[in-house]
Symmetry: C2
Subunit: 136 residues, 2 copies
DNA sequence: GTTGACCCTATAGTTGCTATAGCCCTTAGA
DNA sequence: TCTAAGGGCTATAGCAACTATAGGGTCAAC
């Protein structure tokens, strides 16, 4: 049985990642350096495709690259306790929830500011600029 | 009546901005280059303090620096129609709302993933890693 | 035999700062 | 009068997480 092999463009298409980004992941050690063809092209197998998918999934979930490095290390150490993964996920969730709260406050204020616009037509009586000039 | 004058450290304290950041704003043209003292120290007046406050307020509201440049230009052109400011604010609000929606979806998924953890104790049966390895 | 799609490396740019090095100026205390 | 602290100055490099560009090599089809 022959191994499926991919070139970098295949990986890019299959994962929705740009070619340059895959090379970037390699340069920072997030993707392992693949074997090379006679023409010095990168040659990947299924394992690397899986790894890239894992990375992209974590990125979609908002994990930072160094967190992903950690998650990947944890996930390949099958003896390791699940708690560490759990902690990482919870910490990240808390950060996301905080960001949502911040953005909600911000959106409220922008809506408030926007509602005041109907006062004037030129900047000299623009209430938005007023609002931007003074703390709430 | 004598003009109030500030040094860069005063502006920093009064606005909660780091000194280097103020110099950075000057370097990118967001703050105008101030006058200098005999010792080549930057010397600011009330107008520049106001300008910096405006910038920081906009930053707090999540506007990007180039949007702030635009807002500042609009706000100093008092003949200009308020509509442009209104549009900028609305566009920004829409972007913020979209980001909130994205983050909410993300938080939901992280919570879902986290809830699955109670299955195993080592990585080999960790459901979080499973969840990270497969699309929802 | 040449076109076009792909691949390679290396370097610089993006945003919004922050950090560092190495120096100068001012002021208060011993 | 000396000196040390606490400002200030410039210039350069670094951070995340890519993206863009230059300048070239490879390969299959027409």
């Amino acid at each position: 049985m022959s191994k499926t092999i991919f070139r970098i463009g295949d990986l890019a298409r299959l994962t929705g990642t740009k070619v340059v980004t895959i090379r970037y992941y390699e340069s920072i050690g997030l993707m392992p350096p693949p074997e090379r063809s006679a023409a010095n092209y990168r040659v990947y197998g299924q394992a690397q495709l899986d790894r890239l998918r894992f990375i992209r999934r974590c990125r979609d979930l908002g994990f930072a690259l160094d967190q992903i490095t950690e998650l990947a290390a944890l996930s390949s150490d099958r003896q390791r306790c699940c708690d560490e993964v759990d902690t990482l996920t919870r910490t990240h969730l808390a950060a996301v929830e905080e960001k949502i709260a911040d953005l909600n406050a911000l959106a409220d204020e922008l809506r408030r500011i926007g509602d005041q616009c109907h006062g004037g037509t030129t900047i000299s009586d623009c209430r938005i600029i007023d609002a931007l000039n003074h703390r709430p």
